[in-house]
Symmetry: C2
Subunit: 345 residues, 2 copies
């Protein structure tokens, strides 16, 4: 790549100081007209372009907003991003996206990349549950760059968040399985250091207890957000002496893995085992055996997060009022959990 022409190159070519070049390019009255014309002409010849970023360095605004998500190819995160874009584009902001693949080191590097790209704010769903100890993150907070968490959040002073009520969503999912006649409900949990997954576990447990069932820790298996991991966890559950008759998966991908494994064992869904996921990914609807799930209104979540950012960025540094917005989950009933017998009733 040819080196970009800088004011230092122009200064060298004309044997003047970079400060003079800078003043001339910024149309300062301190530079003589003839000198100014010479500098502008040279800048043009040398293919120099005063970019918006250099101006942003002075004004403190780039009109770029960074969004960090664990994965871009989850419909949930893609829809949140769509919601953010729809709110921010009409206001002149652009959205640049980074993904962490749920790796803490990539999250740190993404924050640094976005800071270096001079974003006006960062909207993120965290992958690192100890994010507050991360130097790049501290730097972000110290610089007063507006920061908003969505979905995967952590309570940090001064940081707003937009989430859904994961406890309630999990409670609804478990209650639904109980209403379908399930008596031994398993839970494919996920990283308990992240609030959302902890709340999904707690909502599940509370529904079990509220319905007079005994809580059995053997029925809770930690799983990742991958299809294969859902299959593996389900294999463990099916090998129990007393296997479950219902599975509440903390995401649709692990629910899909559970379904594959149950079928591979020659069992029927929902008659032998009912399955419910979380997130309402489109594939859960497309499948022949459609998957019951919890909708999280991702577009709405993105729109609200974008508006929290706009409020912060427009507050001009006034004392920031931390906002915590919690959206209501919605149960979407499909074939993987609705027993025909009950439908006939």
């Amino acid at each position: 790549m040819p080196k970009k022409t800088t004011i230092y190159d122009i200064a060298k070519a004309l044997n003047i100081t970079a400060a003079t070049v800078s003043r001339a390019l910024n149309d300062s009255p301190r530079v003589k007209k003839a000198t100014k014309e010479l500098i502008l002409e040279t800048a043009k010849q040398m293919n120099y372009e005063q970019n918006k970023l250099a101006q942003a360095l002075k004004s403190g605004k780039s009109y770029n907003v960074g969004v960090i998500v664990p994965y871009i190819n989850s419909n949930f995160f893609a829809s949140v991003i769509r919601g953010i874009e729809e709110e921010l584009y009409p206001k002149g902001y652009h959205v640049i996206i980074c993904q962490t693949h749920d790796q803490e080191n990539l999250e740190i590097e993404n924050i640094n990349s976005l800071l270096n790209a001079q974003v006006d704010g960062v909207l993120m769903s965290i992958s690192n549950s100890n994010i507050e100890t991360n130097p790049a993150f501290k730097n972000l907070v110290r610089k007063h760059v507006p920061l908003i968490f969505f979905d995967r959040k952590k309570d940090i002073k001064g940081v707003s968040s937009v989430t859904i009520d994961d406890f309630k969503g999990a409670y609804m999912a478990t209650q639904h399985l109980i209403e379908q006649g399930c008596k031994r409900i398993a839970h494919l949990s996920n990283d308990q250091s992240l609030e959302i997954f902890q709340n999904r576990f707690l909502g599940y447990k509370q529904a079990i207890l509220d319905n007079g069932f005994e809580f059995d820790c053997n029925l809770v298996v930690e799983t990742t957000s991958k299809v294969e991991s859902g299959s593996l966890s389900t294999k463990k559950l099916l090998s129990l002496n007393n296997p479950p008759d219902g599975i509440f998966a903390s995401c649709d991908f692990s629910a899909l893995g559970a379904i594959k494994e149950i079928k591979a064992h020659g069992l029927s869904i929902p008659d032998d085992i009912s399955v419910i996921g979380f997130s309402n990914e489109p594939f859960s609807q497309f499948m022949e055996l459609s998957i019951t799930s919890i909708d999280q209104s991702p577009m709405e979540m993105g729109r609200i997060a974008a508006n929290v950012f706009l409020d912060e960025v427009n507050s001009n540094g006034n004392v920031k009022s931390e906002k915590h917005i919690i959206l209501a989950p919605e149960l979407i009933e499909r074939k993987s959990s609705i027993k025909e017998l009950l439908l006939v009733d």
Copy 2:
């Protein structure tokens, strides 16, 4: 948002010139030691941080690479991005992503945003078939920022590309349907101003002609990459006096729409109509009626595109050798096209 401290603020606070502040911060020997210490102390007090970007403005490198795709939530594009990341992260580069939603104006704005974020290169799959007339794009080319097209490309002097052989993929798909006994094969085409879709149409047409069938333009319906659009186009095809017995869709999403519509008409797949998609999206495999598709090796495409970028960026402005790498497509046979009768044979 509080305004970021700039060298101009420090200069004002100390009643000296910004040039002196800049020199002191860059440890220039032209500034006296005492002045330098005062400036550094003031910069610290005022929360000033000399960022990597300001340094990048001078060095011409940010170690950020921009990737522009039509949609982030297509598995194909997400996988290409994954391939790019896997090659670039170990080399110290970070990937920032923008999506265009297939809108020409967003493509232009994305290019500008990435240029403002000082990316060292842009890897993109185009949404605008007239991209070469776009001022932001011309600016990108003029600045010699390494630019690589993947998948959706256009032949532009000096711009390398990595694609698959779309003509061959489409030919293979159509040939496969003919081998399954289909005699009237329809094509859900897509935006013919984009090379990849034009090549898919041409490959389809060639396979039809090479097998001695007559080409019937009534069997070609322009469709978008959406499920709903696939359904709508299929509805038109099914209302023909002589409807098709096979459908080659230019993407898996429109293939899914076709399948939904065929089922809604009470017809059987593949017995009445065989369907084949393009891209090998994961849902095509997950479905009960799995969809036959053409795999495009997206991870491989991303890895190769990243390496073309690394070659260009490391060439230090030597005459750029344009590269055009074409990967081979692969037919993935599944239930939506394989007739049992033939399987028994």
